[in-house]
């Protein structure tokens, strides 16, 4: 019994030792970094060392990955759908109605709103990608950018609006003026109507 046990112990110990010895001397080859789509992505792990020396080596990832958000503000119609879809409310949009159609996006949608504020708080973002799905003009996308370090937390709030405060004020005033003119015209029309009736 004890002889058998001892023999087993030695035999299995040797099995393990042979395995580690193979790895000890098989570590001459460094890992070649290949994208996950490559056929031998997992086979690679069987030979040589596995470490990816990150800043020096990076696994290639698709250009449209599932990483940080980016907004092409020229294509945005400020519909606010993304902000409504966001489960963690990390998108904050403020719109100003334009006095007229202000142009077209690259896919032909007419823009009628100015984006006074378009902030995404990347510290809150949970990378679900729902905002990219609902966007009618596909202006909000997820990129391949996954490592970003900042010194202050508020630097993680990405600001995509390109409007200056002056422009914002100007557009607001213009819209209010148009509204006032419309109201005046409406009241004048109403008065004329009432005057005609009496």
């Amino acid at each position: 019994m004890i002889v058998n046990k001892t023999y087993n112990a030695l035999a299995t110990a040797w099995k393990g030792l042979a395995l580690t010895l193979r790895h000890l001397f098989g570590s001459t080859k460094k890992r070649e970094v290949a994208p996950i789509k490559s056929a031998n992505y997992f086979k690679e792990l069987e030979k040589g060392t596995n470490t990816i020396q990150y800043p020096k080596q990076e696994i290639p990832i698709p250009e449209v990955g599932r990483y940080q958000l980016d907004v092409e503000i020229d294509d945005c119609i400020v519909c606010d759908l993304c902000a409504k879809a966001c489960p963690v409310d990390c998108i904050r949009i403020e719109s100003i109605k334009a006095t007229e159609a202000i142009g077209q996006t690259s896919d032909g949608s007419t823009k009628r709103l100015y984006a006074a504020q378009f902030d995404i708080d990347m510290a809150k973002c949970m990378y679900c990608g729902l905002c990219t799905v609902v966007c009618p003009t596909e202006c909000i996308t997820m990129t391949n950018q996954y490592d970003r370090t900042v010194r202050h937390l508020d630097e993680l709030t990405y600001k995509f609006s390109v409007m200056t405060p002056d422009e914002i004020d100007e557009k607001k005033v213009a819209f209010e003026k148009q509204q006032a003119e419309k109201l005046a015209a409406k009241q004048a029309a109403l008065q004329a109507k009432q005057g005609g009736a009496s």
Partner: protein, 364 residues
């Protein structure tokens, strides 16, 4: 005015220099061994190990020790201050003093004493005392558990280790390690027989090593090697430090230089037990190459410098095996540990001792 001519100033200076040299060697070895251990473990696990500090990370351990030297020496408020302070020193000094009786080459031994092996065994047992002091002095449950385990383990494994060594001593008939070393090569004054039959006194090399003079010493060597792993608290017998259970066992509370001393002791213990195995079983500083006719390989590769080189090569080989085993085998449970010691290794060591007696009487 009588003066003993042996104890002159130069006598003391030489001995102090030898002691300093040994310490420097141990420190350098520790730096190298920690680096080697990290690289070996990394490669075994398909990692890279240290790569950034110096070429291939070679300056990593140097950077580590510089960092450790700068660290604060924290003594826990509830600790027994004297025990806590003294323990790392005792642990290290006990191992360091063991080196005094180890021969490095023909005529090269810090202290040639006729009870060398006995002295080494006695002095490295003091390490247990230091470990107990560290565990008790820390006033920490992990430390005391680690220390108790360590004491139980070291005391148990000294028995098979001791009997394995005794079976080698019965063949060499001396406790003087230098004398035991001389016997295992071409410098031997007595007859050396390969497997007790073939006279290889002038052939030397591998054939005259103790494990080939009496083949049952191979078993004794394996027993001693396994027991020495336990004595230096190395995996798979590292239950005193068992990271997954005891944080890091008896040295949980140590910081800075004190921690460095405990570490230094562990690695010098590795070297010491391996060197002892080399001296008693693997031909000490003798060359592995035999004389073959006109090709006198053994004659060419024997000498003081060769001796040091062979000792270091063989010992580092064994240290390498210790590392290889550490990164392969899982830790033994305490009952398995005691089972192995008392039910397997001790009876086998006794058997080896009996065979040694028979061998010495009727074969050699």
């Amino acid at each position: 005015m009588h003066r003993n001519s042996k104890f002159t100033l130069s006598f003391y200076i030489i001995h102090i220099l030898v002691a300093i040299g040994l310490f420097a060697f141990i420190a350098m070895f520790t730096l190298f061994a920690v680096y080697a251990e990290r690289k070996v473990s990394a490669f075994i696990q398909d990692r890279l190990g240290p790569t950034e500090t110096g070429k291939f990370g070679s300056l990593q351990t140097l950077a580590d020790i510089v960092k450790l030297l700068q660290k604060e020496l924290i003594t826990p408020a509830a600790a027994d201050k004297w025990l806590f302070m003294l323990a790392p020193i005792i642990i290290f000094v006990a191992v360091y003093m063991g080196f005094a009786a180890l021969p490095w080459g023909p005529g090269l031994v810090p202290s040639q004493t006729n009870i060398g092996l006995y002295y080494i065994f006695a002095i490295i047992s003091i390490e247990t005392l230091g470990i107990l002091m560290a565990g008790w002095g820390s006033n920490n449950k992990f430390s005391i558990l680690g220390a108790m385990r360590s004491a139980a383990q070291i005391i148990s494994y000294e028995i098979p280790a001791g009997f394995a060594l005794i079976s080698a001593v019965m063949i060499t008939q001396t406790l003087d390690l230098q004398a035991a070393a001389v016997q295992q090569g071409i410098l031997s004054v007595e007859k050396v027989k390969f497997l007790g039959a073939w006279d290889v006194t002038h052939i030397g090399g591998l054939l005259s090593w103790n494990i080939f003079r009496a083949p049952h010493l191979i078993v004794a060597f394996v027993i001693y090697f396994i027991a020495s792993l336990a004595e230096s608290n190395r995996a798979p017998f590292d239950i005193p430090e068992a990271e997954s259970e005891l944080v890091s066992g008896f040295h949980t509370e140590y910081t800075g230089l004190r921690f460095a001393f405990v570490f230094l002791a562990e690695y010098s213990m590795m070297f010491l037990v391996s060197m002892l195995a080399v001296i008693l079983f693997l031909g000490a500083w003798n060359t592995p190459f035999p004389n073959m006719g006109v090709v006198k390989l053994a004659d060419w590769t024997t000498g003081a410098a060769w001796g040091i080189a062979w000792t270091i090569i063989k010992t580092l080989g064994l240290v390498g095996v210790q590392m290889w085993i550490r990164w392969t085998l899982p830790r033994l449970r305490i009952d398995q540990l005691m089972n192995l010691c008392w039910k397997v290794l001790t009876p086998l060591a006794f058997a080896c001792m009996i065979i040694s007696g028979i061998w010495r009487l009727w074969v050699m």
